[in-house]
Amino acid sequence: MIPAPFDYEVAESVEHAVELLGSREDAKVLAGGHSLIPLLRLRFTRPALLVDIGRIDELRYVRDAGDKLAIGGMTRHHNVQHDPLVQEHCPVLSYAAGLIGDPQVRHRGTIGGSLAHADPAADFPAVLTALEAEVVIRGPEGERTVPVGEFVTGVFDTVLRPQDVLTEIRVPKLGPTGWSYLKFTRRAQDWATVGVTAIVRRSNGTVDSAAIALTNMAPKPVRAKAAEQALTTPNDIEAAAEASLEGTDPPSDTQGSADYRRHLARVLVRRALGEAISS
């Protein structure tokens, strides 16, 4: 399968990328290419111009930013997985990175690319939703920061405008928390049929607060607020698992029906909370 013809430009800086994106109708950013190139090959998308931001080395980093970590948009899954700062301060993100695709994919795919692509079955968007990450975007009018909950607007859809480049993702340092990311797949390396991120804070054996987010249970990541409430008031995992379905709208596809996904979500929320609380 060969993509339809397109023009190609290498951006040498973020500013250059923004400029190049404005030079043509239907220009698209090429990051690691592991979502875009499969779509190009299938000719699901036929952009006129690809702007390659893969050579902007200053977009690859993980930095300590006080109570947060700042992660450059072009940081590859492999580096998110193995970065010592991410492992220390945000282990759920490192762990989830290691479950994306396979080693070859993780050597090329990027955290910014994955989030900007906004596939409902991708791992990072829901994990970042549970983390209440912030997304830094650079466009023709300068820089702006958007909470991740507002960043993804639907299936493959975000607040990114045609000339915008996602430059950085900021995640909180978690401190002492229990966490879990569980992903159900039919085969190794598959997209998540359903995934669950759970992060809990405890004191004296009870859960004070929880953040739960679901992968592939709606067109965009679902923050399961009702489940969080159910868990924190009487510390009832079963009640939380039941409540996790509130606000979901799971798809039916070859991986599973909507009903099957609801079942999976309940089971995975229960297991993830068990794991997070005991970890």
Partner: protein, 168 residues
């Protein structure tokens, strides 16, 4: 090299010049941006050891090393690797002596029809570079991106263990 720009020519196809080092030899090539690396290797350079299997980034038959790390060459554009180093299965042996991973696949019979083998070997070389002493579980996880449809993974895993110096 960094300031690639593509002028329109020949039937409105954009073509740009890139320099790619493959198995130690530098190649200057005129590429269309849409040319996938796997076809650059196979059709431009005649390196047909790298196979095309699924063409959907799933099977790993097209795995090569990009600056030493395993990647799927069906999911990279040739122009993206301008200025970089690629190693294919043809580049592993030195002076007619097989690479230890090749030798181990041979010794342990880590193949049946052999179609997936170059991809498995390149993935294993990358794994052992990152994790020189992997456990069996680590090997199985690290080979998730490669599919064998002949038989199973038993001898493939055994071959990687043997290459890592484990008694098998």
């Amino acid at each position: 090299m960094l300031a690639l720009s593509f002028s329109l020519c020949r039937k409105e196809l954009a073509v740009g010049q890139v320099s790619i080092t493959v198995n130690g030899a530098e190649h200057i090539l005129e590429l269309e941006p849409r040319e996938l690396l796997v076809y650059v290797l196979r059709e431009r350079l005649g390196l047909t050891g790298t196979n095309v299997g699924c063409d959907t980034s799933s099977c790993g038959a097209c795995t090569v090393l990009l600056d030493g790390e395993s990647v799927k060459s069906c999911t990279l554009l040739g122009v993206q690797v301008d200025g970089h180093e690629i190693t294919t299965i043809e580049g592993l042996a030195t002076n007619g002596t097989m690479h230890p991973v090749q030798e181990a696949f041979h010794e342990q019979h880590g193949l049946q029809c052999g179609y997936c083998t170059p991809g498995f070997i390149m993935a294993a070389v990358s794994l052992l570079d990152e994790t020189p002493n992997p456990s069996e579980e680590e090997i199985r996880h690290a080979l998730e991106g490669n599919l064998c449809r002949c038989t199973g993974y038993q001898n493939i895993v055994r071959a990687v263990q043997a290459a890592a110096g484990v008694e098998v």
